[in-house]
Amino acid sequence: MTAQAEQGAPGGHMLIAIAGNPNSGKTTAFNRYTGARQHVGNYPGVTVEKKSGTAHLDGRDIILMDLPGMYSMSAYSPEETAARQALADERPGAIIDVVNAGVLERNLYLTVQFLEMGLPVVICLNMMDEARAQGMTVNVQLLEELTGAKAVPAVARSGEGLEETLRAAVELAETSGGRIPPLEISYGPDLDTALTEMEPVIREAGLFADTYPPRWVAMKFLECDQDMLHSAQAAAPEVAARLRAMADRTSAHLRNTVGADAEAVAADYRYGWIRSILRQGVRVEDEQKNRIDLSDKIDMVLTHRIAGPLFLLAVLYGMYFLTIEVGAYPLALVESAFDLLQSAVDDLMPDGPLKSLVVSGIIAGVGGVLGFVPLIVIMFMLIAILEDSGYMARAAYMMDRIFRIFGLHGASIMPFIIAGGIAGGCAVPGVMATRTLRSPRERLATMLTLPFMTCGAKIPVFLLFINVFYEGNKTLAMFLFTLAGWGVAMLAALFMRSTIIRGEASPFVMELPPYRWPTAAGVLIHTWERAWQYVKKAGTVILAISILIWAGMTYPGLSEAEEAAYEAQKSALEERLDALPPDAAAKDDAAAKDTGYPDMFSRNPGAKAAGKSDKSPVPESTAPGDAAPSADRAAPAKDDAAAKGGGAAKDADYRDLFSHDPAAGKGGKGPAPESTAPADGSGETEETARERIQQQLADLENAKAAEALRDSYAGRLGTALEGLTAPAGFDWRVNIALIGGIAAKEVVISTLGTAYSLGEVDDENTSGLAQYIRADKSWTKSKVMAFLLFTLLYSPCFVTLTVIRQEAGGWRWFFFSLFFNLALAYGVAVAANQFLGGLI
């Protein structure tokens, strides 16, 4: 191996790049070569994914660099710029250019550009099986002769020919040292003359001497390639100016004579050259066979004027159904695992701030987010299938006309759907899915408006209030909120695209690849990459923010005097309880055991179930065994009303909504008792007396927790904000719930529960909270509407904001998204509270 061939390859391993058009099978080949030995990162400064991996060949490790899929080596899209930069900086020993043998003409366009750059290329003639089936034969030897590049027929799906391709690439890297004499094709008399004049100037100045061939650099000047012009300007301003003048002269001449710019002429000649070599016998076609026949037939239905959109709706609904319904099973498992962990820690640790931090802050906070992982895995898997099968491109094709009205792009549809466009998604993977959008302005507008969708974490809030206030019309109400999300997102996109992200619509020029069966490996690798990014974020950002929120709601806590007052009342009650004859004594310390720290995040705090059952006047709940209901919680029994108390309850709520079944999702927890009702003594049995005292104890705990919350930093903030939020009808309770919701929307309901002195209310088991809200006359319909619209529209949760910052490339988008959405939601909520009153 020569020294040059090792340039840029870490640890002395050889570096080979894999390049190719989108849909050429490049990713399949890369996955075949590297298996799970992949590393995903980003190209510096852009959000283009940078994948690399290790392949084994003849007992040695080869580093493979997966370049982004691209049609050309111009520097228009971020992908192309990143690829060019990577080739210049990392200097792979050779490039494996994966080419779809069935679409040779267009695929060779990229190959020719590599060869013109003097890069050693091995052509991997992929999908040879399909090409043969279509009656096409490729004369490999002639192709090699005419292009000067080695070519290997292959079928990436089965692995056929891949090893040979890699071996050829390694050999080429060793013999060429990373550079070969560049291919020179004719660009017609005008350009050829200019190139011949400019070449010596570049050569003498040594401009990009060790990176690009002079003729290629000259061509870039003629094409007005901004990227190259800037680099040249920085490296040698005088030479650059001279070359520019020469290029301008030729361009002016071209415009006057043929009426086109150099770039257009160059493209025409490049394609002309490719066509000429194909005609010389490189490709022989059997004209009798109609190609891409099957795909056409499928498209007659799937993109049909009427059947197409209906099928699209069915696909979207199916995705939603699979994610929510099937996802409920692993979701229940993950949640019960966290419940178990929570109760184990609860049992093991002594009461105090540390335990509260671990149980209510860390485990509940991170668990609440990781609970979504199964849903996200399924969602990503379905999206990968849609992408790899070729259907995603059809969806974009069909929807483009509508999205364009709002300054978006056909390909915006998937991110919106993932973010909750049909209720129940998540904005985090939604923002990440905008990567498939190649136009930066449309991508940004999509990213900033998809948090308005009804994501899975907002749904419990809607469900609770819809159940209380729109009992008769739950499905319709839910549907209208989903529509409202879409409406606001579209209008906001239109607003942004005509103000801050103003600019021409990016060209919509998109290939419709033939339908193909996705490969299992491809789908799994795709899914894994995306899900892992989500998990990493949950593990870091959410952990930190959970602790912060917990602290805000816990400290400074009650003063010693207040604490003592509560303790005194509590002992008084306990004495009276002790005075009663002992029977079901096992449970009365359950309430006492409560730490009094608000349990902000808990979806279902297993150990605290005991404290909860205290509130219920139902006799069977006095059995001590009830304190550990985790066993039945693990069972995701669909219509088991008892599962209400468990992890499956969340899906019970969804099902409830869509099944019109009033029985499902109810039950479990008893209604809040009228604890103040019976007077002392007279005629009261010991049993009811015990219950009454226990109830008072529990109420006392709750009152204490509520007061502590109101007194906490978060509570003070909520109270301080009342002046601002009064027009929308929000009091301090709503304020802190909504502030908590910025961390994660899951928190809104649990915080509201705490604030309503219910101790703990998790977002599934909300009937108690519903009672309080029903009883609280301040919740008028217009206030409810204001609150729900605010919840729908206000700031994206913290993880989403973080991902937006990362994907949009700047803190300004983080803050824009935070404040724009807050302001919008505030405006809408105030309007709803002030003017909707008489209407609903």
Partner: protein, 78 residues
Amino acid sequence: MGEIISLRDLKKGQKAVIAGVDVGGEMGRRIRDMGLTPGVEVICVGRAPLQDPVALRFMGFTLTLRNHEAGFVRVRAA
């Protein structure tokens, strides 16, 4: 030989040969990079449900582009 029309006016199933692409910049480049260069024979295979974008078949693959983009491409209808 047929008359010169705009690519956007091509009917479903109609064949044509590209005569020229009258746009520069990013859009021109994207259109040319995909192979829509003079002399290429294309056939209009259909339109999206709302009549826009348009789907073309040429050189063995299917390309979709908006009517607006197609408006920059001159073709000689067959």
